[in-house]
């Protein structure tokens, strides 16, 4: 039994943690949250130089050719630091989509740019409030152009390349299309969100040039395969955020005195923090299994991804809200950092399908895999 990261992977985690501690302090998150900048360009350039965006991209396309076990430890540290950069949508979604379904030409064009961070990518599928249906897509492709509108696209206003789910051009069902955002007919309009430390836009396409990504009519299954992979990677990022919340709550509970004693000595607080620890520990163990399934392309991936995703959504939500609660009134102030994680936990919780959707997927997947 070796259900653990190896020494090199631990080393990457330590390096990532110490790098982000030095280069992504809470003032960096606050800078983006409060300022005009859509993301921290300085931090983005640094992490690209470190090769984090290139982690799993094969060497022939300018990547480092490392495994997903290296990527998940970086993802956890991204979450821990609440990093205000376009990492997830670019690395977990767009890069994965092109690696999974791109033609050789598409890979050659985009992967080296994504690897070095010169290009930022994203994936767009939602079109309005509520769940997206493959049969009800308003966006459609015709004659190598795409028309329609996608809503609340993460990185929508900063991406160079967008993978867009749309009704197929002359075929049944949905297909995935690759759109170079510099093409005429693409218009991204920045929107205000719950988490201004990330960047979102509504993106409209008006007969913009597009290329088919993957097989005609296979867009929906490609999307689901991509979401399964992203669910594991986001689960690690969410877990990282949840761990920071526990650490913050713990530190505050030791320092803050009430009734002549540290509030951390009251069982009401202790039990709250113990519950955070329990949820985080279970989420971590499920994230391990997700990482194993992703890295080994196991049959269990759909089940492992859903399990990791639901566990991390719940752990992050609980830890981020109870972190504010532990901080009392100060936790509710703009000045304190508790808000970063409360915002981020919900932003990530709906980014690739809500907890409810993943609970549904989990049960469906459990029918197929011997549990």
């Amino acid at each position: 039994m070796n259900f653990e990261f190896n020494d090199e992977q631990h080393l990457i985690r330590d390096q990532a943690r110490s790098f982000l501690r030095d280069n992504c302090p809470s003032s960096t998150v606050r800078g983006v949250l409060e300022g005009e900048e859509l993301y921290s360009d300085a931090l983005w350039k640094q992490i690209c130089e470190l090769g984090w965006t290139a982690t799993v991209i094969p060497e022939e396309f300018g990547g480092l050719g490392l495994s997903y076990l290296e990527l998940v430890v970086i993802a956890e540290e991204m979450g821990r630091a609440c990093a205000p950069i376009p990492f997830g949508p670019s690395v977990y979604l767009a890069t994965e989509a092109i690696m999974a379904a791109g033609t050789d030409a598409q890979k050659k064009k985009w992967l080296p740019q994504l690897a070095e961070g010169a290009a930022i990518g994203t994936l767009a599928y939602a079109e309005g409030p509520g769940e997206t249906f493959s049969s009800a897509l308003g966006t459609s492709a015709a004659k190598d152009t795409i028309t329609g509108k996608k809503c609340a696209v993460a990185n929508g206003n900063i991406a160079s390349v967008v993978c867009v789910l749309a009704a197929s051009d002359g075929a049944e069902g949905a297909s995935m299309y690759l759109v170079d955002i510099s093409e005429t007919g693409v218009n991204a309009k920045t929107i205000n969100t719950l988490d201004p430390s990330l960047s979102y836009a509504d993106v409209s396409f008006n007969a913009a040039n597009c290329e088919l990504l993957g097989e005609q009519g296979e867009g929906w299954s490609l999307l689901n395969a991509l979401l399964n992979r992203a669910a594991v990677l986001y689960a690690w990022e969410q877990l990282g955020g949840a761990e920071t919340c526990l650490e913050m709550a713990k530190e505050y509970a030791m320092q803050r005195y009430a009734f002549g004693r540290p509030i951390g000595s009251f069982q009401a607080i202790k039990h709250k923090l113990a519950e955070m620890y329990v949820k985080n520990t279970l989420a971590r163990s499920n994230a391990y299994f997700g990482a194993w399934a992703l890295n080994s392309d196991a049959d269990e991936l759909a089940l492992a991804a859903a399990t990791a995703r639901v566990g991390s959504c719940q752990a992050y939500y609980y830890a981020s809200k109870e972190n504010i609660q532990t901080h009392g009134g100060m936790g509710y102030t703009w000045e304190f950092d508790c808000q970063f994680f409360y915002r981020r936990s919900k932003a990530l919780a709906v980014l690739i399908g809500s907890e409810r959707q993943w609970q549904e997927k989990l049960i469906s997947a459990s029918d197929l895999v011997a549990v």
């Binding site: 202790k270 163990s285 399990t307």
Partner: protein, 405 residues
């Protein structure tokens, strides 16, 4: 990351499996024996071949095995149909054994440990008292020195297996004028001693797994003391560390598989309950907890496999497992609707009344071996290192501690 045994582990597993397959007792071997006798028969067979208490030193009936080998052995033994030995010997071998190993003299180790390993003698643990449960050190059963003996008076409670045990380990108050933790001393006692009276406790489940044990002028020789006089709490910690390792929540009865199977059989609005999104959401949450515990155990095994000690993450098993099983049993009964109330071992009911049995059994599991609240305190204080609650009983003689009675 992989789930494979190392070469040495695989060889050990093969050896264990081969021995088990060749030595499974037949129904003939066990005919006419009750559960305890069956357990003793199987345990003796294992001991004779060196497969009892395998982590113990060879000299005391063990095999000098490593922690990971112990886990492998348990996994393999669980795969074959053999008498359940842990319910009878688990406390003695899991708690009394390690305590004797750390604190008894060589003569007593040689005298008691091999018999304990082979199941020849059964040991119980007499710690809790009516006035000392979660606050174990508040125990009051007193021992007064008289010559070379101690005279014991008082009452213990929640003692599993007292009625079939040969020996018991116990902590007694030897000096009430000292502060709470300082006036305790640790002993072992012959359960057949004059003055010991055992009364079974009927639980809300109708079963009787525990006893009250009354001590009236029971004589314990000073030679049966473990550790120094006044060192009892320190010795007891050895036992308790092992208790946490040995009381798990199990995962039988109401679990993901059984409740999902039920949801496939019963209907909601004329359709299988499993198609109802509220049912699916609940099942998914329980699956996440069940899988989380399973993979937490895998992480522990990985640490053991590398020769490391298990981390504190293991302490969450009972806490999460017990409350999950209770909630799942309750929900399964809800799914059965009106008929969920029926519980009859004699009738061929859905799932053999397992959910109802669980519903009545789990409240005890949330209390035994550390209540949910104590487990949460342990996580908060030992893992997260939060400060202890200020206490009213510190630094004063035990006899002056407020008791509310």
């Amino acid at each position: 990351m992989d789930f494979e045994d190392s070469k040495e582990e695989a060889a050990f597993r093969a050896e264990a499996r081969a021995w088990l397959e060749n030595n499974i007792p037949s129904e003939n071997d066990l005919a006419g024996l009750d559960e305890l006798q069956r357990a003793k028969r199987w345990q003796a067979k294992k001991a004779a071949a060196g497969w009892a208490c395998i982590r113990w030193p060879n000299a005391f009936g063990g095999r000098d095995a490593t922690a990971i080998e112990h886990v492998i052995w348990q996994q393999e033994e669980a795969k074959v149909d053999v008498p359940n030995t842990s319910s009878f010997f688990g406390i003695g071998q899991g708690m009394a054994g390690p305590t004797l190993m750390s604190w008894a003299n060589d003569h007593d180790k040689a005298r008691f440990l091999p018999d304990l390993a082979s199941g020849e003698k059964v040991w119980c643990q007499l710690f809790s008292e009516p006035a000392g449960g979660s606050d174990l050190a508040a125990l009051r059963t007193k021992a007064e020195k008289e010559g070379d003996d101690w005279i014991v008076n008082g009452q213990k409670i929640w003692t599993s297996g007292a009625h079939y045990s040969d020996w018991g380990i116990l902590v007694l108050r030897t000096d009430p004028s000292l502060a709470k933790h300082k006036g305790l001393t640790y002993f072992y006692v012959d359960m057949k001693s004059e003055g010991i009276e055992i009364k079974p406790i009927k639980q809300i489940s109708g079963e009787s797994n525990f006893n009250e044990v009354y001590f009236t002028n029971v004589r314990i020789p000073d030679s049966q003391r473990l550790g120094d006089v006044g060192q009892g709490w320190h010795v007891a910690l050895t036992t308790l560390m092992n208790e946490r390792a040995s009381i798990g929540a199990g995962n039988t009865g109401a679990n993901f598989d059984s409740v999902k199977a039920l949801a496939q059989q019963v209907t909601i609005n004329g359709k299988p309950a499993i198609e109802d999104s509220a049912v699916r959401a609940k099942l998914a949450n329980w699956f996440v907890e069940e899988a989380g515990l399973k993979y937490t155990a895998y992480r522990t095994l990985s640490a053991l496999s590398k020769g490391e000690l298990p981390g504190p993450e293991n302490s969450i098993g009972k806490l999460v497992g017990a409350r999950k099983a209770q909630d799942m049993a309750s929900f399964a009964i809800d799914l059965l609707e009106q008929q969920g109330v029926e519980m009859d071992a004699e009738k061929d009911l859905a799932f053999n009344s397992v959910f109802q049995l669980n519903y009545m059994g789990i409240p005890g599991l949330r209390i035994a071996g550390g209540t949910d609240e104590i487990m949460a305190n342990i996580i908060a204080e030992r893992v997260l290192e939060l400060p202890q609650e200020p206490r009213m009983d510190k630094g004063i003689p035990f006899s002056e501690v407020p008791t509310g009675s």
